[in-house]
């Protein structure tokens, strides 16, 4: 019953994109996000698109799965698009009806902002689709390590994230099972008005919360039974080391960033 949740779902693989060190991937994603905000015209977006297509092809992911990650936020994108289209200021009026005024500038601006959102989502989806959640939190812990100096609980935070991520599929599976069990007793989750639907969620949410708390409890006990005591003095089984592919990827991104900056300077 729950099928198409792609946002944040990892697709295992062994492509060069998959093999890039998670720390490097986080850095590259940060660079990519900077780049999306730096871009000032559609030629710049062309550059971003080329980069994104290149990485996607290299990763062996189907384009379909990339696009599917847009689905959950399609409404937000459309909303910002129309908001900008109606309310951004401009001179050359294309369409006017009562208080609704669409100008050439507002249309351009709206399309530009919507595309920015699309590129942001696609780029970060590529990160989560090609990096296992464990590797991702591992990388994050390393990247955030300097924050330890100001007593920020980096290890605890990343452990919490790891556990949360680990349990998403489990909880989804559980949700599916409870939904089916209640449907077998005639529960109806899909029809009725908003209030009826909210009420119909109770038979789903109560067992789900109970089982989530039970799992949390069991996990805590299991961790303590194996002497878990936080990050202090903890060694790692997998030590991250930068490889040639990491430096190559960094080079590629830096080159693109430089090219875009240079192009904007020259124009």
């Amino acid at each position: 019953m729950l099928g198409d949740i792609t946002l944040g779902q990892f697709f295992p693989g062994d492509s060069p994109v998959h093999r890039v060190d998670p720390r490097m991937k986080l850095l590259l994603t940060a660079l990519y996000i900077c780049l999306t905000f730096l871009v000032k015209d559609f030629i710049g977006y062309g550059l971003l698109l080329a980069l994104l297509l290149f990485c996607t092809l290299l990763s062996g992911l189907k384009l379909k799965f990339m696009l599917r990650s847009l689905k959950p936020i399609l409404m937000i994108i459309l909303f910002t698009f129309f908001l900008n289209m109606f309310f951004a200021k401009g001179d050359r009026v294309l369409f006017a009806w009562r208080f609704i005024v669409i100008t050439e500038e507002s249309l351009y601006f709206a399309a530009f902002m919507a595309l920015r959102l699309v590129f942001l989502i696609l780029g970060t989806s590529l990160l989560t689709l090609t990096t296992s959640p464990i590797a991702l939190t591992d990388g994050l812990e390393r990247v955030l390590k300097p924050l330890k100096l100001v007593r920020f609980p980096v290890h605890e935070l990343s452990m919490m994230m790891t556990i949360a991520l680990r349990f998403i599929p489990t909880l989804l599976e559980e949700t599916d099972k409870i939904m089916k069990a209640q449907a077998a007793r005639g529960a109806d989750f899909d029809t009725g008005n908003l209030l009826q639907r909210a009420k119909a969620m109770v038979p789903l949410l109560v067992p789900l919360f109970i089982s989530a708390f039970r799992r949390a409890d069991e996990l805590a006990i299991a961790m303590e039974a194996r002497c878990y005591r936080g990050g202090e003095g903890r060694t790692r089984m997998k030590i991250l080391r930068l490889q040639a592919v990491d430096y190559l990827a960094l080079l590629l991104f830096l080159a693109l960033l430089a090219a875009e900056l240079l192009r904007q300077r020259l124009l």
Binding site: G3, K177, I178, K180, A184, R185, V202, P203, V206, P207
Partner: protein, 285 residues
């Protein structure tokens, strides 16, 4: 009317890298009033199969006909199907959610849109059917013992008064006494004329209760027949990761020692009578 499955296949998450084929070209027929058991190794598709019987999974390939209702037809009312076919999931106690046992058992009848007094009557009947005292009605289902919770959950399905009852591993995780109690309840419901489909990992339970056994292996229906037929093919069962009932194993051991008891024996009572007959005939080791 019977359950008829023809050429049923099912793939989970088709078109993704996680796609898993859970059923492949399964055809079977379960007659009215029959006690059918579905056995098979973990992951062989038993749960997937039985979830097709009440429309929780709509057949994507092949057909399922239950009490004359065609489940692959999108116009078929799922509510009607679920009224006639009750499905008790693995660990059904995890679906309890109401404040009181009464409300939880009444959830199904309420969804059927029955009037209040009818719901109350059905709740009482269901409680009696699972042999729980009426004092429990006002208790919270979360305060009960594991075995009691399971019975309340099963009662919640019985309260819909289905003519076909499907139970997915109803005794998993219960102590021997709890198992016996649940099994004898199931047997009682069968005697009253209900069709029972039970998924089970216990060969002993199956051999004792079932009239017909369906053996699943890697998404296919590998064998079907009476318990005597199925349990007289031990090599195939073992190769599918299954076991034999204790009585069938005993028969094999006795055969090795020279007590040639007839093949297909799978119940302890049968061993007893066969041994008696063997000695009366004057056979010796």
């Amino acid at each position: 009317m019977p359950i008829e499955v023809s050429h049923l296949s099912h793939v989970y998450m088709p078109g993704s890298p996680f796609s898993a084929s859970a059923l492949e070209d399964v055809s079977l027929r379960i007659e009215d009033g029959e006690f059918a058991a579905v056995i098979g190794h973990t992951g062989s598709g038993k749960s997937t199969l039985v979830q097709h019987f009440n429309g929780l999974i709509r057949p994507s390939q092949g057909k399922v006909l239950v009490n004359g209702l065609e489940l692959s037809d999108p116009k078929t009312s799922l509510k009607e199907v679920r009224r006639q076919v009750g499905l008790v999931f693995q660990y059904p106690e995890y679906q309890l959610f109401e404040e009181s046992v009464e409300l939880d058992i009444g959830f199904g009848p309420k969804n059927l849109g029955l009037p209040k007094d009818e719901i109350a009557a059905r709740v009482r009947q269901a409680l009696a059917d699972v042999h729980l005292p009426e004092e429990l009605l006002q208790r919270s289902p979360f305060d009960l013992s594991g075995g009691q919770k399971r019975r309340v959950a099963i009662g919640g399905v019985l309260a819909m008064e289905p003519s076909i009852l499907i139970l997915d591993e109803p005794t998993a995780g219960l102590d021997p006494r709890g198992r016996e109690e649940i099994l004898s309840l199931i047997q009682g419901w069968h005697r009253k004329g209900r069709t029972i489909v039970m998924v089970s990992h216990s060969m002993d339970d199956v051999s004792r209760l079932a009239e017909r056994v369906y053996v699943m292996s890697q998404g296919r229906l590998a064998m079907e027949g009476s318990p005597a037929e199925v349990f007289s093919r031990p090599d195939e069962l073992l190769s599918m990761g299954l076991d034999l009932p204790a009585a069938a194993k005993l028969r094999a051991e006795l055969a090795k020692k020279g007590f040639a008891l007839p093949k297909g024996i799978h119940r302890m009572e049968e061993i007893e009578t066969a041994l008696l007959a063997f000695f009366l005939k004057g056979g010796a080791a």
